[in-house]
């Protein structure tokens, strides 16, 4: 479709037409703006909390836990230097031996979701699976934020 769409745009007089090989989903996964009726529905990226605490693999768990609690959070994400999510620490992981390194304490390779995922669908799945929070990342794994079920339900589910 993309090459044909590009060709059609050229026939309409657009001079600078490029094919975006990643496609529309990749564009949306990067949290970039969209137009149209679908863009009016709330998405995971809209509700994900961007200020979630982050840490690195070599950090000491006790230090991270203190920082997380002081900031009023109950979860943190381990990321590399590029912001790629490597692991998740929820309350259970944060409660482990404080002398562990993050690499030893975290849940490695957690399930992550793209920013364009419908909040309604996410709320449904998070409720069904009793999941308190889920990381939201771009398609190349970079952290967007942490989506809490309470936020997904509040914004994605119609009031009963």
């Amino acid at each position: 479709m993309a090459p044909r769409a590009a060709a059609r745009l050229e026939t309409l007089g657009f001079g600078q037409v490029h094919e975006y090989r990643g496609g529309k989903l990749d564009w949306m996964a990067a949290g970039l703006p969209t137009e149209g009726e679908n863009s009016l529905h709330p998405r995971a990226g809209d509700a994900a909390r961007k200020d979630v605490p982050i840490c690195s693999l070599a950090d000491r768990l006790g230090d991270v836990r203190d920082r997380v609690k002081a900031a009023g959070w109950d979860a943190a994400l381990a990321v590399d230097g590029e912001g790629v999510v490597l692991g998740l620490l929820r309350s259970k992981e944060l409660a482990k031996d404080p002398d562990l390194r993050i690499e030893q304490a975290m849940r490695p390779g957690p399930s992550t979701f793209r920013p364009y995922v419908s909040l309604h669908e996410m709320a449904h799945f998070m409720e069904e699976h009793d999941l308190e929070s889920s990381p939201v990342t771009t398609s190349d794994g970079k952290l967007v934020g942490l989506l809490y079920r309470a936020d997904a339900v509040r914004l994605g589910m119609p009031p009963k």
């Binding site: 399930s111 364009y116 996410m122 799945f125 009793d130």
Partner: protein, 51 residues
């Protein structure tokens, strides 16, 4: 070797753990493929070669 111990509730595929919650005791196990299609993260292809 990975032990494939649960089945996806939607397609019946054997997987090691639910892709949504990673809880070994999950009662609504869903595989990565079914979850990503359900969340519209990916569009199902009509054929393996992409249609």
């Amino acid at each position: 070797m990975i032990a494939l111990e649960v089945k996806c509730e939607k397609c019946g595929k054997d997987i090691d753990v639910c892709d949504m919650c990673e809880d070994p005791a999950c009662k609504h196990v869903v595989c990565h493929d079914c979850l990503s299609v359900a969340l519209d993260e990916r569009r199902p292809q009509p054929h393996e070669h992409g249609g």
